[in-house]
């Protein structure tokens, strides 16, 4: 299964002024590969990630999964596709503040009923080294622990693709290594990762690195 982004353009309007976030961006994310996109702040990295995940419709261009345009699907169809095939990791984690680590990890079960959801969540907790924190809420976790919870949530439904926004941006070396190892294991199992980052350690783990600058993508 291949995720292809072709000729995608996206413009924003701020105070009546047009800002070109993405200008004809194309890339492909293939199984077993970690694709990294780096670039300065405001270069459109997060926009690219949201478009690739079907959350943000581009002004033009196409995002295809195995050749099928995901924006040709209705919103509910895209939601179902995300729950099956795509896991998101956000820079700000976006954990639900009143749920425990275990419950945050199994949140995708709301979208797609999962057999033995609790068992799956527990195994991810152990894999992320969070067994001692399983019953804690996000406010009781360190930054690194929150990032690991966000990653575990993204992996809960065993998606083909993980789209990660600065997954190691705020982490120390130990946590960075743990997160990158998880992403590597995911690709080793046939999955694929598209991450936007400016962390050199993350870029080292990537198989392909792109640079996004002024809305245009080029190989590093």
């Amino acid at each position: 299964m291949v995720l292809e982004v072709s000729g995608v353009e996206k413009r924003y309007f701020k105070l009546g002024r047009e800002i070109g976030a993405l200008k004809g961006v194309s890339l492909a994310v293939e199984p077993g590969r970690i694709v990294a996109v780096r670039g300065p702040s405001g270069s459109g990295k997060t926009t690219l990630l949201l478009i690739a995940g079907g959350l943000l419709r581009p002004d033009s261009g196409k995002v295809a999964l195995d050749g099928s345009d995901i924006f040709g699907l209705p919103p509910e169809g895209r939601a179902a596709l995300r729950s099956r095939s795509i896991g998101f990791v956000f820079q700000q984690y976006h954990l639900v503040p009143y749920l425990s680590v275990l419950d945050n990890i199994r949140l995708p079960a709301l979208a797609m009923p999962t057999p033995d959801a609790m068992g799956r969540a527990k195994s991810l907790v152990e894999r992320m080294g969070l067994s001692e924190r399983a019953r804690h809420t996000p406010s009781e976790l360190s930054v690194g622990e929150r990032q690991r919870v966000a990653l575990a949530r993204a992996m809960f439904n065993k998606p083909q693709f993980i789209l990660a926004d600065e997954p190691t941006g705020n982490l120390d070396d130990r946590n960075t290594e743990m997160v990158l190892n998880c992403l590597s294991e995911h690709t080793a199992g046939g999955g694929a990762v598209l991450m936007v980052t400016h962390d050199a350690r993350a870029m080292k783990a990537a198989h392909v690195v792109y640079i996004l600058e002024d809305g245009s993508l080029r190989a590093a």
């Binding site: 976006h94 949140l107 609790m118």
Partner: protein
């Protein structure tokens, strides 16, 4: 199994969110509970007012019924004692002469009394045939009113009651006050009257009228003394049972049986007193009707108040709940966006927000109903002079059912627009901006 081990579902998520954002939840709960309490309390007060009113009116109805019964009894006694009566006179008798002389000069057959007695006449209870005439008591040189009476004529259609006037035994005489006082006669004395010897059976008390100069002897004796055997000149019909002295009705009945007679009213004093009691009874009934109208007016005012205050309170509560719901979804933008990002459908997000609204509405309804109902009960009991009303009687299950249904529905409606706005908000915009 702890809370975290339960299967993840929307109601559980909604419940945990309510516990997490306690202030927003408690404020919404408070708004709903206060609104429900106000409306339920007003309805409960209305209900208690109705029950108390009915109890008061029932008491008054009983009191009025007892008073009217007493007045009717009084009336019966008065008419019995004084006669709510008519006098049957020979048709040819001049009423001018009758009122001037106080007795009839013309006469009629004694048999008339028996005809009436045998008839089915229903307007008269007692018949007293008499012959009366001014008469010079030769042995005593006194002018007296001689009355020959034979006692009461039995009415064939009535059960025999105690006679209103006992017959005068043969050889006996009743004597008026002025006569026995001036002649120093006492009961048991023998007197001679028109050549006949009598024992004075009764000496009457002073009446202040013509009775004081009257001598009562058996009818047969009087007819012989006056030379009018088998004749009488009046029949006193006592205790006419026609309502409120309907003399026309008595005349009609008697006129059919005795066309050769005329009927005049007697004893207007009794009529006046009876009418006074009738007016008193009517006044009592009118007072009850006024009380009922007054209570009904108060009830209508209460209902009118609830009719406009109810929707107003519900509307204000709905606006406040809507504002709180808007605040809630604003504070949950990120959470809702991440739910959408992990694949939760917009319908599920909408359901999550509606479940929260319904739970809040339901809990607010329960608390508000309890507060409103028991609060109204406490206020009612605390009111000085209020008729005691039990809470069981004031409880209306249909109000509870309506509250438990309407409060969640109104809360959901009030939360609908904020929920739809939340669902329609582009999750990418939120996830990108943060």
């Amino acid at each position: 199994m702890g809370a975290g081990m339960k299967a993840m579902n929307l109601p559980l998520l909604a419940f945990r969110e309510m516990l997490h954002r306690r202030i927003n939840f408690l404020l919404a709960l408070l708004v709903i509970a206060v609104a429900v309490a106000g409306l339920v309390g007003a309805l409960a007060m209305l209900r208690m007012h109705g029950i108390a009113t009915e109890a008061i009116l029932e008491k008054k109805r009983v009191e009025v019924a007892e008073a009217v019964a007493k007045l009717e009894d009084d009336y019966r006694k008065i008419t019995k004692g004084l006669g709510f009566n008519v006098l049957i006179l020979p048709k040819g008798q001049s009423l001018g002469d009758f009122y001037a002389e106080d007795y009839a000069a013309a006469d009629m057959p004694e048999e008339y009394a028996d005809i009436l007695g045998r008839s089915k006449i229903v307007t008269v209870s007692h018949l007293l045939p008499t012959i009366q005439c001014k008469f010079k008591w030769p042995e005593r040189e006194r002018t007296v009113l001689l009355v020959g009476a034979r006692g009461e004529v039995p009415m064939s259609n009535l059960e025999r009651e105690q006679p209103i006037m006992p017959p005068i035994p043969p050889g006996r005489m009743f004597m008026g006050y002025e006569l026995h006082a001036s002649l120093k006669i006492k009961p048991g004395d023998k007197v001679v009257f028109a050549g006949r010897e009598y024992i004075v059976d009764r000496c009457m008390k002073e009446q202040g009228n013509k009775d004081d100069i009257t001598v009562w002897i058996p009818l047969r004796d009087a007819q012989e003394i006056l030379g009018k055997p088998g004749r009488i000149n009046s029949i006193l019909a006592l205790e006419c049972r026609c309502a409120w002295a309907d003399v026309a009705k008595v005349r009609e009945e008697i006129g059919k049986l005795l066309p050769d007679t005329q009927v005049v009213e007697k004893a207007t004093e009794a009529l006046t007193r009876a009418e006074a009691r009738s007016r008193a009874a009517k006044e009592a009934k009118d007072a009850l009707a006024r009380e009922e109208r007054g209570r009904e007016r108060i009830r209508r005012e209460y209902e009118s108040f609830v009719a406009w205050a109810g929707p107003l309170v519900a509307a204000v509560a709905a606006v406040l709940v809507g504002c709180l719901a808007l605040m809630n979804v604003r504070s949950r933008r990120s959470e809702i966006a991440i739910l959408r990002a992990v694949g939760v459908r917009s319908g599920q997000v909408l359901a999550l927000l509606m479940i929260r609204a319904a739970l809040t509405g339901l809990l607010g309804a329960v608390l508000g109903f309890a507060a409103g109902f028991f609060g109204a009960g406490a206020i009612w009991q605390a009111r000085s002079g209020a008729e005691p009303v039990s809470l069981e009687a004031a409880f209306r299950p249909e109000v509870l059912a309506a509250t438990l249904i309407l409060a969640p529905v109104v809360t959901c409606l009030a939360s609908w627009i904020p929920a739809v706005l939340a669902v329609k908000t582009d999750p990418a915009a939120i996830l990108a901006e943060e």
